[in-house]
């Protein structure tokens, strides 16, 4: 316990300022965005992530976006455990044949209104795997996609910036 308290005090607040390229300060953007999200989605924006065959780097960066340094939750965006709780689906990876049914079922399990975001180069068009015998068509040909976050993998800052600017606009 003593170590925890010591480190808690020594470390202080580690959360980093994220530049959104907006005229307003980030803290203001954070709170404004929270209000915006609350207006549009009731409480928070809840995202369910599905890996359809990614190498794991995108997942690692999405997890990093939730760490205390980037702290995606401060903007009112949460990752949830079930598609039933989700407003948005975040898809990573080229769609492996084995994941096609799972992807569709996950999407179908989400309540309306809902939208889909793809994350990482593989999810756009299969990336380096697009010519494979086991990779299905693009995610956007299976379910409607409204936003793509490019990168291999996209950094946590990219992920947060893309998500926030999409939501603000």
């Amino acid at each position: 316990m003593i170590h925890i308290l010591k480190n808690r005090i020594l470390k202080g607040i580690v959360t980093r300022h994220i530049d959104l390229g907006l005229p307003i300060e980030i803290n203001a953007a954070g709170s404004e965005l929270k209000i915006l999200i609350q207006k549009r989605f009731g409480r928070s924006l809840n995202i369910r992530e599905v890996d359809t065959g990614s190498c794991g780097a995108c997942e690692s960066e999405i997890i990093s976006a939730n760490n205390p340094i980037y702290d995606l939750q401060r903007f009112g965006i949460n990752f949830v455990a079930s598609p039933r709780h989700a407003d948005a689906l975040l898809v990573t990876g080229p769609v492996s044949k084995n994941m096609l049914i799972a992807l569709k079922k996950t999407y179908d399990a989400m309540p309306e209104p809902k939208f889909v975001i793809t994350c990482g180069d593989c999810a756009l068009d299969g990336g380096p795997f697009k010519d494979s015998y086991y990779v299905e068509k693009k995610v956007k040909d299976i379910i409607p996609v409204v936003l793509h976050i490019p990168g291999c993998p996209p950094s946590p800052t990219n992920i947060i910036q893309s998500l926030l600017s999409f939501l603000i606009n």
Partner: protein, 525 residues
């Protein structure tokens, strides 16, 4: 040990042994060609005398050039720091061979893989269900790694049959492929009697992308980038094994500076993954502060990677013949300074975990993988060392690690705590190694050579953070890849997990799983 000594030892155990050819292509590789009749016995003898599991077992389709299939089985001789490959030719019509799986358990999964990808039957194999090409979506009779495969033809679809445990009070709990957390897809079928797990069947292959086929007919310089996308958390280890195989074939001598820089990056990859796993274990027991603390630490290492190379996951820096990024004096200072802070924070993290009684209670004697089971399954890497298997390629193969007096971590108890301790020890050791390697760097040295592509076959191997990452490559004179066989340490270790959880309760499964932290994509390929 040279090839004649190995042959003598095989002959002592197997009087009828006769090799068709013996070649020592590289100082660390011995290749023995034998007839199919004695393949099974020879592999068994080698398995016994080298005390090695089957490290690789795979087929090559050479019907076009030589009207045959070739099966290669690779063993490791730790004593002499060598790889021993046993190979045999099979006829192109109705190819089959006697299964090794009943005598050498670690061959089992590889044989299933050969059967599903090439249609070569391992006769007498107890379980020939497919691993990656799911029966529900992939018609029977399509073998994608055969050279004449273009696209899947129509055929019957089947349903996968899970192993069933029957009896009073047995319940099945099925989980996945889409999990609650932000992780890869896999299906876990638990059979429980009350609380304890009596059987766990892990069905994988959900992230199968056909990468071995994608490598084929690609120029090896282009394929380099593909090797970085096999397993995102081991992208450097994978690309390093891949280039090592090509460099062996080309006979390139890598500048010393590049060798040290590569070793530094390999250790940095180990650092961020180890701290990530330690944090993950804290998450899975609900110990949130150390978990958050570890994620901050992981971020610091990823940031350091970025500042050194421009890539958080050390991608696009390896090239055939060397490395693209030099570590000059400024970067050296940055590296050493950051490492100092990272070490300090890491020690605090360890203190927090070790001083928490409830945390220790959760990890101690949970998820035990016995040494015998681990040996039989061919479990490697962290999981193997935690169960008392002293296999770490860094220790046994001549490299910069030997001169840095690398110390291998080893534990006996095989539980979650043992795997945690291995990581903690290795973290500290890796910091020391990076320190040592950094001292050897000097500014303005050559960091790459231009290789001359040649035709040939070679094995690339690196001890990634999870365990040995193996690449067996065959390239033609134009530098096009004919066959690339990849073995990620996850491949055999997933089986280890299904044995480690037996007798534990399902709430402890995430913890056991995290203590192995295996790659879905590295396994599924």
């Amino acid at each position: 040990m040279d090839s004649t000594e190995i042959i003598t030892r095989i002959k002592n155990k197997l009087p009828g042994f006769d090799a068709l050819s013996i070649a020592q292509n590289y100082p660390d590789e011995i290749c023995i060609k034998i007839s199919p009749q004695i393949f099974k016995d020879t592999c068994y003898v080698l398995h016994k005398i080298l005390l090695s599991p089957v490290m690789m077992l795979f087929a090559c389709d050479e019907r076009k050039t030589a009207s045959k299939f070739v099966i290669n089985s690779v063993f490791v001789s730790l004593k002499s720091g060598q790889w021993v490959t046993v190979s045999m030719d099979l006829p192109q019509e109705n190819p089959s061979f006697d299964s090794l799986a009943k005598t050498i358990h670690s061959a089992g999964l590889f044989e299933r893989e050969i059967y599903e990808m090439f249609g070569i039957e391992p006769k007498g194999h107890p379980d020939l269900r497919r691993l990656r090409l799911h029966d529900e979506v992939w018609p029977q009779g399509n073998y994608p790694l055969r050279k004449d495969f273009k696209q899947a033809c129509e055929g019957n679809l089947n349903e996968y049959k899970f192993n069933r445990v029957e009896g009073d009070g047995i319940f099945e709990v099925s989980v996945g492929p889409v999990h609650a957390g932000i992780i890869g897809p896999g299906h876990f079928r638990f059979s429980v009697a009350g609380e304890p797990i009596v059987n766990l069947e892990i069905r994988l292959g959900f992230t199968h992308r056909g990468v071995e086929k994608l490598f084929e007919d690609k120029n090896c310089f282009v394929a380099m980038r593909l090797s970085e996308c096999i397993s995102g958390d081991s992208s450097f280890a994978h690309s390093l094994s891949f280039v090592q195989a090509i460099e062996k074939i080309c006979g390139s001598v890598i500048p010393a500076q590049a060798v040290y820089i590569r070793a530094i990056f390999l250790e940095l990859e180990r650092l961020y993954n180890h701290v990530n796993d330690i944090g993950g274990m804290a998450v899975d027991v609900g110990f949130s502060f150390p978990a958050a603390y570890a994620s901050v630490l992981k971020e610091a290492i990823l940031q350091l990677n970025y500042n050194l190379t421009g890539s958080r996951y050390l991608k696009k820096i390896n090239v055939v013949g060397g490395i693209l990024i030099d570590i000059d004096d400024a970067k050296k200072q940055l590296l050493l300074k950051s490492l100092e802070n990272i070490k300090q924070d890491f020690n605090e993290l360890v203190k927090m975990l070790y001083s928490s009684v409830s945390f220790m209670d959760r990890v101690d004697s949970t998820g035990v993988l016995r040494k015998k089971t681990a040996e039989d399954l061919g479990v490697v890497g962290i999981a193997g060392r935690a169960s008392g298997i002293p296999l770490d390629l860094r220790k046994y193969f001549p490299s910069v690690y030997k001169e840095a007096k690398f110390k291998m971590a080893i534990q006996e108890s095989g539980d979650v705590l043992a795997r945690l301790r291995i990581r903690i020890f290795e973290f500290t050791e890796s910091c020391r190694l990076i320190d040592e390697f950094t001292q050897k760097l000097s500014e303005g040295q050559k960091i790459s050579v231009t290789p001359e592509l040649k035709e040939g076959v070679a094995l690339g191997y690196q001890e990634g953070w999870r365990g040995p990452v193996l690449y067996w490559l065959k390239i033609d004179s134009a530098g096009l890849i004919q066959r690339c066989k990849i073995v990620d340490p996850s491949f055999n270790n997933w089986q280890g997990l299904s044995y480690a959880v037996l007798g534990n309760i399902i709430p402890d499964f995430p913890l056991c799983n995290k203590s192995f932290d295996l790659s879905y994509s590295g396994n599924d390929l």
